[in-house]
Amino acid sequence: MRAAVIVFPGSNCDRDLAVAFERAGADVTMVWHKDDHLPEGTDIVGIPGGFSFGDYLRCGAIAAKSPISRSVAAHAGRGGYVLGVCNGFQVLTETGLLPGALMRNSNLKFICKPVELIVETTDSAFTGGYQKGQGLTVPVAHHDGNYQVDEATLAQLRAEDRIAFTYADNPNGSTADIAGVLSANRRVLGMMPHPERAVDAAHGGTDGVAMFRSLAEGLVSA
């Protein structure tokens, strides 16, 4: 598995995400946002958490217009895999690769704590290593994680089994407790919780390991 982790000014989970991919056996290349192409043979792009461009204008809005974001969109368009975590999820909604928008948490507070997630579908390379209905403990750390979609889109996400994870106890006001969603081709996943922060016993939990392991085993060439 060849992974490319995008680095924006203000990204701060890029190294964590790279380590999580490396531990699953991936060759990882860090890619600066001003680059206009991904490394040859990239299977999966990781868009990390952080505060790209200081969250100016809207979280992820400026990053979504970076030169590399066009290449990421083209990669996704070819059927390539993309994992966006936290700010990476916000970037994916801003680029239009995933539906909906991430808004300010309903209690207006920055939330930084481990939360329980429920695996809603195992039908993806990201979630194939889990059991449907399984509970995972994964940290969240965000101010704008309140996922909002309109009713028609929610119905479509449900009908197409594209809700990857929900919160057992919704911390941020997200519609239908949604914590992560898949693209129509199931190869782009955006999620607010940080699976890369749950891959080592020293993190306090290892529930994220199965995602990276499943990706390493399950990727189909674009």
Partner: protein, 77 residues
């Protein structure tokens, strides 16, 4: 040429910040405030003759997230 763009959340989209402002006004003793919506104002200094279509393009591509926000353009001259 100065242009002002107002960006507001669409009707029906939850605005937790507006709600918090409404509560704070209530706790200051201001009565009868039914609803507060918070948005942004973006002022642009653009080249003379820039068309409204171009400004609209700027709004669609960057200044507003049309999934959740509406925008209004006002040319200030």
């Amino acid at each position: 040429m100065k242009v002002r763009v107002d960006v507001m959340l669409k009707t029906g989209v939850l605005d937790p910040q507006g709600e918090a402002v409404r509560h704070a006004l209530g706790s200051l003793g201001f009565e009868g405030v039914g609803k507060v919506r918070q948005g942004k104002v973006i002022e642009l200094d653009v080249a003379e003759g820039t068309s409204e279509d171009t400004i609209r393009d700027m709004c669609e591509k960057l200044l507003a997230n049309t999934v959740i926000e509406n925008y209004a353009i006002e040319v200030l001259g």
